[in-house]
């Protein structure tokens, strides 16, 4: 029983990290039809900005130090994403192939810069004692950091849903996902919504980067790339443009991966996730929450 609980919560934690990356990807694709391969770089830059801030600003309180790293990771992800949209993607809105190439380029450059600056070795993350401790749930000892990751992702989900349902920009994003041209034909400058969505997506990914450090205990330059691959899978399974769909798919993928990697063999979970993607594409091409493309 304790194994099942442990795997379930570990899977939820992994799903929470996938969700933090996939939420931005999904909104960006849904509204802007931009396949953003740079999203993993937002995650990585957020992780290293958080680590840099916490080590460069020594603090007597581990909580304060870690809180600073959270803020720094979110800010770095948001700023990097905003600059990417404004400087590199905006001039290429009419050229989707150019967008793909430029986001791949950003991803490679950011990875190289991080590796060049920090090296390839994993960096240890210093966490407050309360986060490295464990809580026993139904006989399973769960690291508190993992519970925090799940809680943080749930909070981001709620905030995003509130943003989409209660604010004018949320309304613009939801409408723009359906029909961007008609939103403009109502006199709305969709470009501002594009930048906002990129910034939000970047902040969520940056937060994911810092939280991944808490989840795994270390950060390394390549994690953003592997996160991006699974986040793409989550985005497609959830339904492009749907935050709720991404959340459900992220949980599904994270939990499935954990259980199969444990009970079958290492790697089987990853394979099963790709198989699940194939099944969803065949049976329900629009994903869990989306409609089939016409």
């Amino acid at each position: 029983m304790s194994d099942v609980v442990l795997l379930l919560i570990t899977g939820l934690g992994l799903g929470a990290l996938y969700f933090l990356v996939a939420a931005g990807l999904s909104l960006i694709w849904g509204l802007m039809r931009v396949l953003n391969f740079a999203h993993g770089a937002f995650f990585t830059v957020g992780a290293y900005a958080g680590w840099t801030a916490s080590t460069a600003l020594p603090s007597a309180s581990p909580w304060l130090s870690w809180s600073i790293s959270l803020v720094a990771g979110i800010a770095a992800g948001g700023v990097f994403a905003t600059l990417t949209e404004v400087v590199l993607i905006r001039p290429l809105y009419a050229r989707p192939v150019g967008q793909v190439l430029v986001t791949v380029g950003v991803s490679l450059c950011a990875l190289a810069l991080v590796e060049g600056t920090y090296g390839n070795d994993p960096k240890q993350i210093l966490l407050p004692d309360a986060l490295t401790g464990t809580t026993t749930i139904l006989g399973a000892a769960i690291t508190n950091a993992r519970l925090l990751v799940i809680f943080a992702a749930a909070l981001v989900l709620v905030l995003l849903l509130l943003f989409l349902s209660r604010t004018r920009y949320g309304l613009i994003v939801r409408a723009g996902v359906e029909n961007r041209a008609m939103v403009e034909a109502l006199g709305i400058d969709v470009q501002r919504a594009f930048t906002l969505v990129f910034a939000i997506g970047g902040m969520a990914a940056g937060l994911g980067g810092v939280l991944a450090g808490a989840y795994y205990g270390t950060i390394d330059p390549s994690r953003g790339t592997s996160m991006l691959i699974f986040a793409f899978i989550v985005t497609v399974i959830g339904g492009l443009g749907s935050i709720g769909g991404s959340a459900v798919a992220a949980v599904l993928v994270g939990v499935l991966q954990q259980f199969l990697n444990f009970y079958a063999a290492a790697g089987v979970g990853d394979f099963a996730v790709v198989a699940l993607l194939a099944v969803v594409l065949l049976v329900r091409p629009g994903g869990i929450a989306g409609s089939a493309p016409t």
Partner: protein, 241 residues
């Protein structure tokens, strides 16, 4: 045209879509007030003309609304000059509620005519929390018209085939609403139903193969068998009555 000049002046409007040259130097004026019909057979460029005015398709030439040149402005800036648009397929946001569709159309700084909208379409008030995608075609048309009518600073509405695919009873409601709307805003109406067009419009512009083939009074066109046959393909004058 009145002494103050036309409200909308289109000059040498050209639109290319891909390899196709759709509009060939279209020029016409729309005077302020009432409804001007944009008529013609299928595929002659009526919808493209509306989309060209708005900037939804790449265009060249000149489109002036009052003193303001619209060509060169992005779509949202054209609309903010006071141009409302009701597309042929209504294009309501199906995942949004009726109220959210209307809220999205609200423009900052504009006086909002919710009283007029709900007077014309009382059903929309009752269905405010219903998703627009679950409405009937007629109800969706009401939402599309309401979005365009909502902002009192709209000076002109471009309305594309509002009766297309609607039941006769609903067509009557739409016609009544358009007539009432024309009391407060100038309308350019694309309409394939010539009976409807004849009942509503004052001036007509007829397009043929991407060019203006006739401009003038609607009665002069509809009541002249030769003109009606030549420009609209009507077999006999009065067929549109």
């Amino acid at each position: 045209m009145n002494a103050a000049g036309p409200l909308l002046a289109v000059r040498g409007l050209n639109v290319h879509i891909g390899e196709s040259h759709i509009l060939h130097g279209v020029s016409f004026d729309v005077r302020a007030g009432g409804i001007t019909g944009l008529l013609g057979r299928n595929g002659v460029g009526k919808t493209t003309t509306l989309r060209g005015i708005l900037g939804l398709v790449p265009r060249s030439g000149s489109v002036r609304l009052g003193e303001t040149e619209l060509v060169g402005l992005p779509v949202h800036a054209v609309v903010r000059q006071g141009v409302g648009y009701v597309p042929e397929d209504r294009d309501v946001f199906s995942g949004l509620t009726v109220t959210e569709n209307l809220r999205l159309a609200e423009r900052q700084g504009s006086v909002l005519r919710y009283d007029l909208v709900y007077e014309l379409f009382p059903e929309l008030k009752a269905r405010g929390s219903q998703r627009a995608g679950t409405l009937s075609g007629g109800q969706q048309q009401m939402v599309a018209l309401a979005r365009a009518l909502l902002n009192a600073d709209n000076r002109i509405l471009l309305i594309d085939e509002p009766t297309k695919g609607l039941a006769p009873l609903v067509v009557r409601n739409v016609v009544d609403a358009l007539r009432r709307a024309a009391e407060v805003v100038t309308i350019v109406l694309v309409e394939q139903n010539l009976r409807v067009a004849h009942r509503l419009v004052r001036d007509v512009i007829v397009l043929d193969q991407g060019r203006v083939s006739f401009t003038g009074d609607v009665d002069a066109l509809m009541n002249d068998p030769e003109l009606a046959r030549k420009h609209l393909g009507l077999v006999a004058a009065g067929a549109a009555h």
